[in-house]
Amino acid sequence: MRILMPILFLLLAPLAGGLLDGMDRKISARMQRRVGPPILQPFYDVQKLFAKQRIVVTNSQTFLMITYMVLIIFTGCMFYSGVDMLMCFFMLSTAGIFLYFSAVVTDSPYSYIGGQRELFQEMCCEPAVLLTALGFYILEGSFQTSDLIKADRSAILALPGFFVAFLFILTIKMRKSPFDESTSHHPHQELVKGVTTELGGSNLALFQITEWYENVLMLSVVALFILNKNPWSILCAVLVVLATYFLEILIDNTSARMKSQKMLQLSWAVTIAAAGVNLVILILVR
């Protein structure tokens, strides 16, 4: 199990991530009363990007991009092999730093601002992410994901506040509107394409695939809130993950971009109000 699950993650996560991305574009289009691209569109895009001429601003860019990708995949594999959850989150932050480096080595002002905002987003997410790990530890007495999925009952029953805080920062982690500060999904914004401005061809394809891995990893953390020793909880977790993803698409399509200062205030306020209060109750009740 400790070997099988990471291998499955390695192979299936990009497929699942790509399909989710395709569904995202299709559902977004339907919400805007458009036909929208085919579900497999993200795969066509990546295939095309690999076929294009490779243009890099500096050679280190490719190395940094590959490091970012490898670290994210490694984090996912760690998470699925059932090791320390806290360690996974630290690895995730380290991977984010490499994305920042790949953005700032290029000298492009758009890319640079995108990189700065990527760090800023990281700062908004980190408290909620760490508190989530802490909440699981207080509840189950373990950071190991292999122990957490064998819980007697779903963690969400005791950790609803943590769940809310995590859902909130999920929008930031997925770089979706209103928190698409570091990359803009839509054209003609002040950032051009943020951190990905100077990525073209295969490097952009790597970024895209890494994003799929990262999305699947973050949604797996959502699933962890639901999973317990009952096998039926797996089905339940899948449904909750899909509902969560739909909620993200809905928020993405109904909100305008927020100022980064406001994002910091809001994310920390929600983290303290939801996860913080839940934490205090959890400690008092125990």
């Binding site: 574009r25 289009a29 805007q32 009363r33 458009r34 036909v35 929208g36 691209p37 085919p38 569109q41 066509y44 895009d45 295939q47 095309k48 690999f50 076929a51 294009k52 001429q53 490779r54 243009i55 890099v56 054209p187 003609h188 914004q189 051009v192 394409k193 990905t196 401005t197 100077e198 990525l199 073209g200 061809g201 295969s202 952009l204």
Partner: protein, 187 residues
């Protein structure tokens, strides 16, 4: 050979358009016409774009920008001139401050006429450009296959010919690419 025709990403540049064609370009992406169903993404980043869509005639100010955008795009790439001004200069053709159509500075593959060009004809033009994009991509793949994966990084000597060599292009038209002229000196 990679199938690239399902994913054409556009870069839209307004060289000196009156915004009539620009509105129609945006209209092709709205619910009524929805060009995204062909996988079209309106990107703002030349490094990520496949099709350069230019509206409006080229003047002294925009000529350098059009050239630079074209050079920044990764191969294979296709250029579409949208609207009669981008095709020939249109009603501004003989104005002192207009060089003419987009083909006075970069090779153009598809001309979409109209004032303003209709969304239907713009989408038709994009579909034609996509076919050219696929054709060039196949040639590009063949070149990379022959010369090894490292050939993908470098701009090979035949690349210009595959994209449409500007010199050949202008010879066929029987004219020269216009240089930047400073009208103050002419006085």
């Amino acid at each position: 050979m990679a199938n690239v025709k399902r994913s054409p990403w556009l870069l839209h540049y307004d060289a000196s358009s009156c915004n009539g064609c620009d509105i129609e370009v945006l209209a092709s992406l709205t619910p009524v016409y929805d060009a995204e169903r062909f996988g079209v993404v309106n990107t703002a980043d030349p490094m990520q774009a496949d099709i350069l869509l230019v509206t409006g005639g080229v003047n002294a100010q925009s000529a350098e920008v059009v050239k630079q955008l074209y050079d920044q795009m990764a191969r294979p790439k296709v250029v579409v001139a949208v609207g009669v001004c981008a095709c020939t200069g249109g009603v501004f053709k003989d104005c002192y401050n207009i060089n003419g159509g987009v083909d006075t500075v970069i090779p153009v593959d598809v001309y979409v006429p109209g004032c303003a060009a209709r969304p239907e004809s713009i989408i038709d033009g994009i579909v034609k450009a996509v076919a050219i994009f696929q054709e060039r991509s196949d040639k590009h793949d063949k070149y990379v296959k022959e010369h090894g994966e490292s050939a993908r990084d470098t701009s090979d000597p035949d690349a210009a010919a595959r994209d449409g060599n500007p010199a050949d292009f202008f010879n066929a038209l029987g004219k020269k690419p216009q240089e930047h002229t400073d009208h103050k000196e002419e006085k």
